[in-house]
Symmetry: C2
Subunit: 333 residues, 2 copies
């Protein structure tokens, strides 16, 4: 690998006849460096294309200029990761931060992953998703006073930065709409138990059920993380054996499975069986028959997560770093 020596502060010092220290300070615009010198150094730096060495900076200052994003690679929603990442990247543009994606296989203890980051100062801040009510990662990071932000809320007493989607509202609106459409028995295809947002979904769903007086079913063996085949089978059982005529789907994947189930039952979506699903990709608007959806913008969420985390790193108070986003109705009519 060819390597013409990279320009360093020393190069610049030689070039300008100044001391390394002076060059360093001039580049970051320190006020005790004469204006003329500052300009001269900065011009020289631009000219030879100087960029500070991250490793050296990191070694010296302890700042890594890295944001670590914990990703469960086999997430049910494949597009989830990319959209989040796209958003985070946008928020990091024009900063010196790099985005490191750290695998967090669910079975392998999240503890180890986070502990590793904390103890070896692998990042200046951490972002993660799929938050649980008593999330161990949140507890560890709070304990270490390490900057982080998560997608989803916890039930912990200590407030912490988060970005969440209002899943209560989503499920409430969705179920209410189905009831208004005349559905008599609703099913909720929920997220997996451990995640906080599954409780929000459930709560919203049950509130609507109660308010509108319809009956309901909560399939237990299956979640939006389950294999689509399993979801489809469960949905068919709901339809055939339990008289369900309306589904609230918390994910696109399970929505497709429900559509498949309806079709495989010889019934028609919307006509015979009502559906409202959460939509997170534009793609889903092309599904036929079209269904009512409520849109969650994950790229925007990623952008928020990144932006707020940067603020957190700069020391902003937690109270300014909490966001609850709302869904956008995309109903057919």
């Amino acid at each position: 690998m060819k390597r013409e020596p990279k320009p360093t502060l020393k190069t610049l010092a030689l070039e300008t006849g100044l001391a390394v220290t002076t060059v360093s300070r001039a580049l970051k615009g320190a006020p005790e460096i004469a204006k003329g010198t500052r300009d001269r150094v900065q011009r020289a730096a631009k000219a030879i294309g100087y960029v500070p060495d991250r490793a050296a900076q990191r070694l010296r200052t302890g700042r890594t200029n890295v944001i670590s994003f914990l990703l469960e690679p086999h997430d049910e929603m494949l597009s989830f990761g990319t959209m989040m990442i796209a958003g985070i990247m946008e928020s990091l543009e024009n900063t010196s931060f790099h985005l490191v994606v750290t695998p967090q296989f669910e079975k392998s203890d999240p503890l180890g992953t986070v502990d590793n980051i904390i103890r070896n100062r692998l990042a200046d801040g951490v972002i993660f998703c799929r938050t649980t009510p008593l999330d161990i990662r949140v507890r560890m990071l709070l304990e270490a006073d390490y900057p982080f932000i998560c997608h989803g809320r916890t039930e912990l007493a200590t407030p912490h930065p988060f970005v969440d989607f209002d899943n209560f509202e989503f499920a409430l609106d969705a179920a209410t709409r189905l009831a208004r459409q005349g559905c008599k028995k609703l099913a909720l295809l929920n997220a997996r138990q451990p995640f906080t947002f599954s409780q929000h979904l459930m709560h919203g769903f049950m509130t609507a059920v109660r308010e509108s007086g319809v009956s309901h079913v909560l399939p237990e063996n299956v979640s939006i993380d389950s294999a689509p085949e399993a979801v489809r089978d469960t949905a068919m059982t709901c339809i055939r054996e339990q008289g369900v005529d309306g589904f609230v789907c918390a994910g696109e994947s399970s929505a497709m499975a429900v559509i498949a189930a309806v079709s495989d039952c010889g019934l028609r979506v919307n006509e015979d069986i009502g559906m409202v699903a959460k939509q997170t990709t534009p793609l889903f608007g092309q599904i036929r028959p079209q269904i009512d959806t409520i849109y969650e913008d994950l790229t925007a969420a990623g952008r928020q997560l990144g932006t707020l985390l940067l603020r957190r790193i700069e020391g902003a108070p937690v109270s300014e770093l909490q966001r609850l986003e709302h869904g956008e109705h995309r109903y057919r009519d």
Copy 2:
């Protein structure tokens, strides 16, 4: 942020009564360190949870222990990124490498991104996708003799590592199948021109068309990157005005758009209009009506990319670092 001082080589040296140098070499199992000493040091390291400081190593050795993955965040196939990343991560497990995702907005010059990586040695190796026949990134990296691997091939004279999917074969098989099913006029929903694999697709498609004597259409205003609405409109035009009765879809998103188009024309997929699509997510198996697909395993591709790149970094010859993967037929019968 609480910081109990991280154990370093010095800590270990004090603890064991050895010199820092000795500790360093003992930890990497250098043969000139007495067996007993090595064991002692390694045990001590384990005990206090010593992990070498990445910044210091990087500064000293020039090795970054970083793989940079160039990602176009607004890719047409949202799941693409996550699946690739999942694969790359798997290949990096149990190595000291971290995965840095570097944004590569298509309009913003890829030149800058790659040049930055090369000049500032931001990574030990680079992975990217959406390769073009005369890909500028490939040329720059070859020129700099910088380790990299790409998803897709080029037409450059210098051989280089790659992992590609046999899109020629895919399009050939898909079109042939449609012709056998009795379709008379086929359309190819291709990738965008600039990418090498669009030529492979075209070539495979045309070969099948020629061999089976059917007629064909190559919609030009639209690609698998286009908005689904545009694809759908084009597909409807194909069906209504050009008599197309079979589609080869190079992507899931456009496949859904075609299904929508067929449905919106009041026709039935498979019965009236034949389709074969490339499938890259399990989700797509739930689409109704079911359609014939050929499966491309992107996670496996990511795994390959990572593994081969690591070999490249270790100096393996290019000839061992080229792979062409084949699709897996998922036909309905």
